[in-house]
């Protein structure tokens, strides 16, 4: 029996794909530019089938790549001649416990579906990647995804309390403390698993916290004629002790892209930058925080501050931000998406450096980012068919990333390393640290069959063992 037959026997005929034409959709993820074709794609219906698939792959010594919705922005979910294990059919919300304020879900549940399901209890799932209408909670766990509201509420790590995981050898373990019984014993293996980008095994079930909906939410849009002023306002708001739920920034290039798209949100196109600030929480005291933000924006040169309190008006302000990557994607056939983090006080200097680098290489950088966290997304739309332009884009990106590292920052704040950021790992970490990361991966996956070749460049992993590919 071939591997495909074995897998068909587990998940059914129609849920195993082997023909190249059918596999094409799985050749890339949310980041255009990388194409890797899996040898086969298999889509289990539930945890039991998924486990049997993992065990069948283990028995054959075959490598595999877990995949959620494929919205990842680092090439993490690409399978290069190996098996793609798609979790998108596993989209059941197994339990919502409004008393303990947790939910138990399958990994393929789409982020926003959980928030919708929790709405009757006035609860929501707080981490809100801009891709939340498509990305899965399993993918969020694997990437330790963030989102605009993570400034106040924390990232995925802070919201996952337990996970049932199939290790690549087919063993099942429950990590963390899904039942809230007290301190989990031993090492924080759940903490280690979060953000492991599919290299430590497959999350079959997640238990996540649900957060009470705020009593009141106010969104402010401040527009600036100088990008420096906008960046300095960010530091001023944080320093003043106001902790907004979200504090996002968009530069003129991004505003232009958004306003000329179907996602137009009414942003001032002549502004050098805008800040989108959301303040939420108890009704008591909220107006004082709103006024403080308004005052700080104006004191730092904001030309205008619009305040939206009604849901429809707020949603409109947010729409442009949430769809900014999509809007940029329309500027040119290809888009490089970056995801660096710098200390907040370095934002102004970094934005100037990015502009200088972009100018020197004649590329147009669009900045849209989680400013409150110092999490930059300097993106460049370009035509990969133009060899000269591509070369300039890549040079500019390399310099931008190096500038972020030199400023004391990091190469990814939420999108993960995947394939795309592998090349930067040794500018950030020592060879010994990278080797230790490989050793940690070997604890979970000694055969290195789960998502091989991602996250840590192979040359830093001692004693690399060969792994078999399927097909």
């Amino acid at each position: 029996m071939t591997l495909a037959d074995t897998l068909r026997a587990i998940v059914g005929e129609t849920h195993v794909l082997v023909r190249p034409a059918e596999l094409i959709v799985y050749e890339s993820d949310g980041l255009p530019g990388y194409h890797r074709r899996p040898s086969l794609a298999v889509f289990p219906a539930d945890a039991d089938e998924a486990l049997r698939v993992v065990r069948a792959l283990a028995a054959e010594g075959v490598s595999f790549v877990p995949r959620g919705a494929g919205t990842g922005l680092s090439g993490g979910a690409l399978a290069d001649g190996t098996v793609l294990l798609g979790l998108q059919r596993m989209r059941k919300i197994l339990e919502i416990d409004p008393v303990r304020r947790v939910a138990r879900v399958e990994p393929g549940v789409v982020n926003v579906s959980l928030t919708k399901a929790a709405a009757p209890f006035s609860l929501h799932y707080a981490p809100d990647p801009s891709s939340q209408t498509a990305c899965t909670l399993g993918g969020n766990l694997a990437e330790n995804a963030g989102g605009p509201h993570c400034l106040k509420y924390g990232v995925t790590l802070n919201h996952v309390v337990g996970a049932v995981v199939a290790l690549p050898d087919g063993e099942v373990v429950t990590l963390g403390d899904p039942h809230g019984t007290g301190d989990a014993a031993g090492y924080d293996l759940l903490g280690a698993f979060v953000g492991s980008e599919g290299c430590f095994g497959v999350a079959l079930e997640l238990t996540v916290k649900l957060t009470p909906n705020p009593e009141r939410v106010v969104t402010l849009l401040a527009d600036f004629t100088s990008i420096n002023d906008a960046a300095e306002t960010v530091s001023a708001i944080i320093a003043a002790g106001v902790l907004p739920a979200a504090l996002e920034m968009m530069d003129q290039a991004t505003i232009g892209a958004v306003e000329s798209s179907i996602y137009a949100a009414g942003y001032p196109t002549d502004a050098a930058a805008i800040l989108l600030v959301e303040v939420d929480g108890a009704a008591a005291g909220l107006d004082d925080d709103v006024q403080a933000v308004d005052r700080l924006c104006r004191a730092h040169g904001a030309r205008d501050v619009r305040i939206a309190t009604e849901p429809a008006a707020r949603a409109k302000l947010w729409q442009g931000r949430k769809k900014a990557f999509g809007a940029m994607g329309r500027l040119a056939p290809h888009l490089v998406v970056q995801d660096a983090v710098v200390p907040r006080t370095k934002l102004t200097a970094l934005l100037a450096q990015i502009a200088e680098i972009g100018g020197r290489h004649r590329v147009r950088v669009c900045n849209v980012f989680h400013a409150g966290d110092g999490n930059l997304h300097p993106n460049i739309a370009y035509d990969a068919g133009d060899a000269d332009e591509s070369a300039r884009v890549h040079l500019a990106m390399k310099e931008i990333m190096q500038a972020c590292i030199d400023a004391g920052g990091t190469i990814t704040g939420e999108h993960g390393v995947g394939l795309d950021k592998l090349a930067y790992m040794d500018s950030l970490f020592t060879a010994d640290t990278l080797d230790a990361m490989c050793r940690l991966r070997d604890v979970f996956d000694p055969e290195r069959r789960a998502n091989p070749g991602k996250v840590v460049p192979v040359r830093f992993c001692r004693e690399q063992r060969p792994h078999k590919s399927a097909g």
Binding site: E143, G146, G154, V155, L157, N158, E171, V173, T174, T181, D183, A185, G186, Y187, D188, L189, G191, A192, G195, S196, F200, S235, I238, A239, A240, G241, L243, G281, A282, A283, A284, G285, L286, D288, V341, P343, T345, D373, G374, G409, T410, I411, T412, G413, E414, H415, G416, V417, M425, F429, D432, T433, L434, A436, M437, R439, L440, D442, V443, V456
Partner: protein, 300 residues
């Protein structure tokens, strides 16, 4: 007794001990050496107090990097000068070190509202059981580069490495802070705490004290709820009104929080491990401390 003063010293000493299969007992400030299960009596103490002091503090970033043996008191003093603080504030008080708080993942009264040690640590420097100096994580508030050795070390009780540096997230001091004590019926303590935490104006700390502890803290002979309200003036006013509607609240001194943290506490029983999780734990230990020399036995 060993007294390394640099990571190079520490590396040499750990390599030497590994070669001799000599167990080591890591000691930072030595305030809580009976925490955890007993370490092998043949272990040689390694004093890490040389790894202390503020390494980098840019208040505008709301982050700080300190030597691991820096006392919590020093962290508090340095950050307070800039109207900031670190919500680690663990049980046990401020004489202990930042590194030990992270190594033991000891939380305190603010953990529920403001984060556990794993939520507050941004990056580390440590020397593992093979003598390698490792620097996972970083000093920025968001970071997903590489596999998360920082979380692995947090709560590892010194069994996977000797932590030498810690980068932490800080918070700005709230504009208004008030501490209140409310006499409660101990049988309903859980419900009252839950109710408060779920109110529209939740406190940033809320601890039920039994009668013995209440007496120790000079709050009288009845069980008490110690509550800290923090935020802007209007928020705190609303929170205070809500608290008063739940019971007779009496204004209390902020210093009670330190006294509460310093008061003896019953050890928390740890959940049992499944065989699969136990096997992973053993593999982690064998990977990063193959000679089993770092604080052997302390995790039970």
């Amino acid at each position: 007794m060993h007294h390394p003063t640099s990571t190079a010293d520490l590396t040499a000493l750990i390599r030497d001990a590994a070669a001799r299969a000599q167990p080591l007992r890591l000691v930072a400030r030595g305030t809580w050496l009976n925490g955890g299960a007993p370490v092998s009596t043949t272990a040689e103490p390694v004093h890490l107090d040389a790894f202390s002091g503020i390494i980098e503090y840019e208040p505008g970033d709301l982050t700080i990097t300190v030597g691991a043996a820096t006392t919590l008191a020093e962290l508090e003093a340095v950050t307070a000068a800039h109207h900031q603080w670190c919500p680690l504030a663990p049980w046990g008080g401020d004489a202990g070190s930042v590194g030990a708080t992270v190594a033991t993942a000891t939380a305190g009264p603010f953990a529920h509202a403001l984060g556990l040690p794993r939520d507050l640590v941004l990056g580390l420097e440590y020397v593992d059981g093979t003598g390698k100096v490792l620097r996972p994580g970083g000093k920025v508030v968001k970071n997903v580069a590489g596999f998360d050795l920082t979380r692995l070390l947090t709560g590892s009780w010194g069994t996977l490495g000797a932590i030498t540096r810690v980068s932490l997230r800080l918070r700005a001091h709230p504009a208004t802070v008030e501490t209140w004590a409310v006499a409660i019926d101990e049988a309903h303590a859980g419900d009252i705490v839950r109710g408060l935490r779920r109110s529209a104006t939740p406190p940033d700390a809320c601890e039920a004290l039994d009668a013995t502890l209440a007496v120790q803290l000079g709050l009288g002979a009845q069980s008490q709820l110690l509550v800290r309200l923090a935020g802007n003036a209007a928020f705190v006013a609303a929170a205070r009104a809500d608290l008063h509607s739940r019971g007779a609240a009496v204004a209390a001194d902020a210093s009670l929080w330190m006294r509460l943290r310093e008061a003896p506490r019953a050890a928390v029983a740890r959940a049992a491990m499944s065989p699969g999780v136990r096997a992973l734990n053993d593999r982690v230990k064998r990977t990063f401390d193959p000679a089993n020399i770092l604080n052997p036995g302390i995790m039970g």
